[in-house]
Symmetry: C2
Subunit: 455 residues, 2 copies
């Protein structure tokens, strides 16, 4: 049963399991104690820190272990902002950062830097957003939803020139290699690389102003309060070293499988858009969106077919809003599927996924009454209004697609919708179908999305 | 090799180990995902929450898992204070709370309620400290250093009458039973009961105002950010149920062993004070202090003799200050030893400890040149000044003890000391030796501690 959601959580690496079991026996005591059990625990903690620091590319005394990647990011933002509070309360974030960074930034004066349609940040845009009162900039190494790599080395140069520390969220990329460039702070998450949950990394380079924002605590250089989760920390470090040892080989192998998906899906499944950068990307992750498909139904159908994947579609989020990443990229969000391959995924598993996908998508589309071929053209109307109020993604787009042939070239279809995903998906549909999107207009209820038939 | 520091960290309970291994295989995925691995993880998380809630004595939806007991306490204080910010910024804490509570309270207007010589808080003193702008009161269920139980049920009544929520730090007592009384918030720590590290509990009763003080995050009802440490959570819940099933029996057994220590130590080792309440106490924990002994040397000697214990003496802390608990109780801090017995400790192990202790203490005292018997009395002086400036615990007390016989009854010895432990240990020595402590007086350097010979 292939599990293709390793970007969310990876199954425990065998090396992590072995290290965890050993450390449960040897490393349960308090490493701050002076008796033999404490000294043993201290040795394990020191060794884990050295291993992790080597993989991160920093000094052991620059790295602390936190309870999760999320907490590492929260602490990094709060600690860096407090450390530079005299400079100001301005923070710059890319629009595609993990929600942990975006939510942490909400406490300050935050500027969001947009990305292009591939999800990539421009260092020039970052430079333009920096101000004299900017205390911190945050750029991820690679995006968690679409796999696009960010130019972190250039971002670090831009920040250094402006005297602003750069926080790199390296959660998605640490398995593959250290983050490039002269970052000041870095965060990671062990369960993304096959380590156990309960372990994050926070590295703060010497010379970076940092003032922990939590109550005083002696643990982890005062940067991560609470009793250290030592057995998990040991397992995290051991598995990071193990995945790194095979990273180059596995990256090449998985990247070829991802290319297979990127090339085949648009051929096998009509009306599909592969999103994210084609080459500047993580080796193991590919995301695509399927028109006229309900993401939740698609997830369910794929699950029944034996495939575990995730989605950034609005219908799969608790807030019924599309993923902020897809929104920032301006790409289709409906029928969105993220495939992230765990190490060891075989070509046969990916082939099986590609075999199953077309019929699964077709079934969901049929169930929703999506247009499959140009319908019979009843009496043409010059302009049409489709009332999709109260209907959720992907229905507004389906209703638009069903009537576009009923207006003459040059005529318009106006879709009335109060679903947030429509703002993203109707323009995306226009791009995919070479129709003209005339923009959203105010309407008495919801929003009027106006499309002019071009072809 | 007996490990007698279970109040610091307990070795992993066999049930926890078994549950952890099973959950590593079944519960590594994201419980928020809808595919089969996610659903399995969700079931495990829900079951763990029910088990833990039953042990705590609350509803499952009132309980969240945190990365540690420390983080649970930090979140409890910050969340309760933010939830009641309109009431005020005043918080009341007992003087013997865990440092995690005391440090969290530092961010607010904090009033500290003292304890008696046994370490016990008086509900009347708590009542007197509550004000109209008091947003929270914090009382531990049992003290982590001396084992004294606090009257939490009475404290909860006092708080309820004043309309103030009570946070109970139940970290030391949850293994033995639920906290009594109508608390509003409760925190616990799994590695104190034989669960794995990396898991704390935070319970917030329905109706308690609570506003999480960290960046927004959907996990754990918004009260504990970050990917849940599910395998450890499952292990924590399973082991809590397991230790509770044998709690009554084990409490009776260990309590008898503690009574043995409490009775025997003062007989076996001269100049020793057993601290903490004799009956209102944890079943497995006993603490005593030995005059004229350096705590660090004593820990080291006991470690070499095969016993792992901890100490609240100043010389064993990174800040060279005595434990705030011993300070609040006003008891001797030098040569302090905490013995906390893990479940399953045998009488033979405790007997062996009692066999070894007298010679270990005698050795350390001999090494420090401590007085063993009344020395020869040279020409008596009416009043003496001992210059102990620059000397650390237990030297100032040793020097006092060595000269007290040289002044006549009614004469004074003034000890000049700049060691913080002297403020605690010189009065404690006077109490133990029936001498009159006339109090600290300002001195050009350090403090002058004046003792009048009574006997």
């Amino acid at each position: 049963m292939p599990y293709f959601d390793t970007a969310s959580a990876a199954p425990l690496h065998p090396v992590a399991r072995e290290a965890l079991l050993a450390a449960l026996d040897e490393g349960w005591a308090d490493p701050a104690r002076l008796y033999r059990e404490g000294r043993r625990a201290r040795l394990l903690l020191d060794a884990a820190r050295e291993t992790a620091a080597e993989a991160v590319g920093c000094r052991p005394d620059e790295l602390v272990f936190t309870p999760s990647g999320t907490v590492a990011l929260h602490s990094a933002v709060a600690g860096a902002m407090a450390g530079r509070r005299r400079t100001g309360r301005h923070v710059v974030v890319s629009a595609v950062e993990h929600s942990a960074v975006l939510h942490a930034a909400e406490a300050y004066d935050a500027t969001t830097v947009g990305v292009d349609r591939t999800g990539r940040l421009s260092p020039a845009d970052l430079a333009a957003a920096l101000r004299p009162d900017t205390a911190l900039a945050c750029v991820q190494s690679a995006n968690h939803e679409v796999g696009t790599l960010q130019p972190v080395a250039e971002a670090a140069d831009v920040c250094r020139a402006a005297g602003v520390p750069l926080l790199v969220d390296a959660a998605q990329s640490l398995a593959w290699g250290p983050a490039e460039g002269g970052w000041s702070l870095l965060a990671g998450s062990a369960h993304k690389w096959g380590g156990p949950p309960g372990v994050g990394l926070l590295a703060v380079r010497k010379g970076t102003r940092f003032a922990p924002a939590h109550p005083a605590d002696e643990r982890e250089s005062g940067r991560s309060p609470g009793f250290p989760n030592l057995p998990a920390v040991v397992a995290a470090a051991a598995s990071l070293r193990a995945v790194r040892a095979r990273a180059a080989e596995e990256a090449a192998r998985l990247s070829a499988l991802v290319d297979l998906v990127r090339t085949r899906v648009p051929r096998l499944v009509p009306d599909t858009e592969v999103v994210g950068h084609a080459t500047e990307r993580l080796p193991h992750l590919v995301t695509f969106s399927c028109l006229y498909v309900d993401g939740e139904a698609l997830l369910g159908a794929l699950d029944r077919a034996g495939f575990s994947v995730s989605s950034g579609s609005s219908c799969t989020s608790s807030t019924l809003t599309p993923s902020h990443v897809l929104k920032a990229m301006g790409v289709l969000s409906e029928g969105n599927i993220r495939v992230s391959l765990p190490p060891g995924t075989s070509r046969a598993e990916v082939e099986r996924f590609l075999d199953v996908l077309p019929s699964v998508v077709a079934e969901v589309r049929a169930h929703l009454g999506a247009p499959t071929s140009p319908g019979p053209a009843p009496e043409p109307a010059a302009d049409l209004v489709v009332d999709s109020l109260g209907k959720r993604c992907p229905i507004p787009v389906i209703e638009l697609a069903k009537v576009i042939d009923r207006v003459p070239v040059g005529g318009t279809v106006t879709v009335l919708s109060d679903d947030e995903a429509a703002a993203l998906d109707i323009p995306a549909w226009c791009t995919m179908r070479s129709q003209d999107y005339l923009g959203p207009r105010p309407a008495p209820k919801g929003t009027a999305y106006v499309v002019r038939r071009r072809t």
